[in-house]
């Protein structure tokens, strides 16, 4: 049996990779995908917990997380499209209209 700690370790690593990806990449799409990555890492840990804790709550929660992720992606891309219409910019350092 694979001990729970490994799963936690795995999800932690992927989570942090997601965070780093979010911080480093200039392209907004990749940032969105990094967020998806973070959410998936959480899903992994939740499923692992629900498996080892023999409790379904985790999986139900994963189910809801996936729906929210979908909604989020939809809205994120909608905003991106609206932004793209006004200014052909998809990199974060091009959208610094407001500062100070």
């Amino acid at each position: 049996m694979v001990p729970l700690d490994w799963y936690i370790g795995l999800s932690a690593v992927i989570f942090v990779i997601g965070v780093v990806g979010f911080i480093i990449r200039r392209n907004i799409l990749i940032m969105l995908m990094s967020v998806e990555l973070m959410l998936n890492s959480v899903n992994i840990s939740l499923v692992a917990f629900s498996h080892y804790l023999q409790d379904l709550r985790g999986q139900i929660f994963v189910f809801f997380i996936i729906t929210v992720a979908a909604a989020e992606a939809a809205i994120g891309l909608a905003i991106l499209v609206a932004l793209f219409k006004n200014k052909a910019a998809v990199h974060t350092d091009e959208i610094t209209e407001m500062k100070g």
Binding site: I23, R26, T92, D93, I95, T96, E97, K99, G100
Partner: protein, 641 residues
């Protein structure tokens, strides 16, 4: 409304009427109201003198002025022998000056204002003299200083006049500073300010000392000296005399009234009034005596070389005041006040005489440009001559009796007395010299002024000459009241003052008294003789002497550079500190620096922080991550330990 209250009240009413309605309604007729008021006061003063003569002293409170916890002060009157004499002096001289001013100030646009100030001055002087407690004395003290400020600076367009007024007030304030502290010390140690209570309890203070900044000083000496400090300021003694000569900027009647007869003598009056305190402290008495003597010598030497007629008379006043303090210093308070009484008349006469000369010479004051006025102004000449004879101390006239009394009592007062007596005699000689210098240069010899001045010369109008004559009578007869026993007189004035001012015990025999008297007569005549040689026989002698002793002449001419000294030590540095250090540095740099500096620093810090807000999305995420990281490390390490 008892009559004593009327004495100060009448001039006050005259003042209010003149000052309010003066400009509009009264204008030229202001002098009537003022003169009537002073006349009323004079009449009541005479009646009170009679009452006091037959032994009645008045001491009652009008109303309670300040009540704060244990500190109770009232406005009240104490009229005893000393006050009665002072009342007579003040009201009489004031009356004569009022009459004189009608002529002198004729046509001046501030006519009503002048008479209003004169009435205010009389009111303040009367309050000072009649007060029965120290605070009312202080009230009169400052009020008189105020009136002298108004009157000296009467022609306020002239910068020198308004400067002189301001200087007089501020120098007086220095004196009043010491005097105020003296008043407070008395209240703190004796618990009351009324004369009767003070004199009753002052004995208990004998020998007590007080610790100031580590040194224990004898309490009574300290109080006496503080009070004396006020007197020095008011009566223009050595350290604080600088304002009197400048006070000549004011109209001459003002000088006659204030700077000869009344205000300056307030110092002597106060020392005399507090003789119980002064006599308890040996050192205080010596300080008073020495200051008086030194001042009189100092002023007399300066008067030798001055050319402005009013300046000479002013310095002679300072010197005569020195005399009075000398008297008080040796315990002869009665003689001091007697000299004050006689001095008031002949000094006022000298001033008014100088005023009428100035009137005739169209404002010319320099005696070198006068000469031979005898034939043009006989009345002024003769009255001026009588006054000069009296001040010089020629027997028979008032000056001789009072001055001789002082010298004699000084002589009796041990070693200090001897020193002071010698200086007094020297001053007598000098006084005679410079008084007659004026006579010879101004009235004798030939006219040295401009041509049109010459034909303009005329005798002063009636309003001016009558007071001169009355004063001349006073200058002669005033002395007869105090003819010493040695010359067969009853010395009535000394006995009159006995209950209030006491009488110093006299040890030496009559012969010595004659010896002292003869020495002072010789000094007087000698002074006149030398002055006659210098200024009428061989006029060139003074010039050669002045050339030979160049150094001494210029120091005397510049009044020992005292004014410049004060300017250098006090006035200029304070102004410099005020504008350069305080306004510029402490307020400008330090406090403002902090007050403006802190918000400015915050704003600069804000500007830098603002740069962190780059608008770049990633940077926000980075800052969030860093925030998270910092919190994580802090908490985990804290928990981990």
């Amino acid at each position: 409304m008892d009559k004593y209250l009327l004495i100060p009240l009448l001039p006050l009413i005259a003042f209010t009427i003149n000052i309010i309605f003066g400009k509009g309604i009264i204008k030229e007729r202001a002098h009537w109201i003022a003169i009537l008021a002073v006349l009323g006061s004079f009449a009541i003063a005479v009646s009170t003198l009679i009452e006091v003569l037959n032994g009645k002293t008045i001491n009652y409170d009008v109303y309670s002025w300040i009540v704060s916890g244990s500190f109770k002060v009232t406005v009240g009157f104490l009229i005893d022998q000393l006050t009665a004499i002072m009342l007579i002096v003040v009201t009489s001289v004031s009356l004569l000056v009022h009459i004189y001013s009608v002529g002198y100030m004729h046509g001046d646009k501030g006519y009503y204002r002048f008479f209003a100030y004169l009435s205010l001055f009389t009111f303040s002087m009367l309050m000072l003299v009649m007060g029965n407690n120290l605070l009312q004395l202080y009230f009169g003290w400052e009020a008189v200083g105020l009136c002298s400020y108004f009157l000296i600076g009467f022609w306020y367009e002239k910068k020198s006049a308004s400067d002189a007024g301001k200087k007089a007030f501020i120098v007086n304030r220095f004196g009043d500073f010491g005097f105020g502290i003296g008043v407070i010390m008395i209240f703190l140690t004796l618990g009351a300010l009324h004369y009767t209570d003070i004199f009753a309890k002052v004995g208990t203070l004998q020998g007590q000392t007080i610790n100031i900044l580590g040194y224990n000083i004898d309490l009574i000496t300290l109080i006496a000296l503080l009070l004396f400090c006020g007197a020095v300021g008011k009566s223009a003694q050595i350290p604080l005399h600088v304002w009197l000569p400048d006070a000549m900027e004011g109209p001459t009647p003002v000088s006659a009234l204030i700077h000869a007869a009344t205000m300056v003598t307030a110092g002597v009056f106060m020392v005399a009034r507090f003789n119980p305190i002064f006599s308890l402290s040996e050192t205080a008495m010596n300080v008073v005596a020495l200051t008086g003597a030194i001042t009189s010598l100092f002023a007399a030497t300066i008067a030798l070389v001055q050319n402005d007629i009013k300046r000479i008379v002013a310095y002679s006043t300072v010197s005569q005041l020195g005399y009075m303090f000398l008297a008080c210093g040796v315990g002869a308070y009665g003689a001091g006040v007697f000299h004050l009484y006689t001095h008031a008349y002949f000094k006022a006469l000298l001033f008014l005489g100088a005023g009428s000369v100035m009137h005739a010479m169209a404002g010319e004051l320099d005696i070198q440009k006068m000469g031979g006025l005898k034939k043009h102004m006989p009345v002024t000449y003769w009255t001026f001559l009588i006054a000069s004879l009296s001040i010089a101390g020629i027997p028979g006239l008032a000056g001789f009796f009072s001055k001789d009394e002082i010298l004699w009592l000084a002589y009796n007062h041990g070693t200090i007395g001897k020193i002071v007596w010698l200086m007094g005699t020297a001053v007598a000689a000098l006084t005679a010299f410079y008084s007659f210098r004026i006579i010879f240069m101004a009235f004798h010899g030939k006219f040295r002024g401009t041509h049109e001045q010459e034909h303009h010369l005329h005798e002063s109008p009636k309003a001016m000459t009558i007071p001169l004559i009355i004063l001349a009578i006073g200058a002669i007869s005033a002395g007869w009241v105090g003819i010493p026993a040695a010359l067969g007189g009853s010395n009535a004035i000394a006995h009159f003052f006995e209950p209030v001012l006491g009488h110093p015990h006299v040890t030496a025999a009559h012969e010595e008294e004659f010896m002292v008297m003869s020495i002072s007569i010789v000094a007087a005549i000698g002074g006149i003789f030398v002055s006659w040689i210098f200024y009428s026989l061989k006029p060139e002698i003074p010039k050669t002497l002045a050339a030979k002793f160049k150094g001494i002449y210029t120091t005397l001419w510049n009044k020992y550079y005292v004014d410049e000294l004060y300017g250098f030590i006090i006035v200029r540095p304070t102004k410099w500190i005020a504008s350069n250090i305080l306004v510029a540095v402490t307020d400008g740099k330090i406090i403002e620096g902090i007050v403006n500096g802190v918000p400015q620093a915050i704003r600069n810090f804000g500007e830098r922080l603002r740069k962190l807000q780059t608008g770049h999305l990633q940077h926000y995420a980075v800052s969030m991550a860093i925030g998270l990281f910092v919190i994580l490390t802090l908490v985990l390490i804290a928990a981990g330990r």
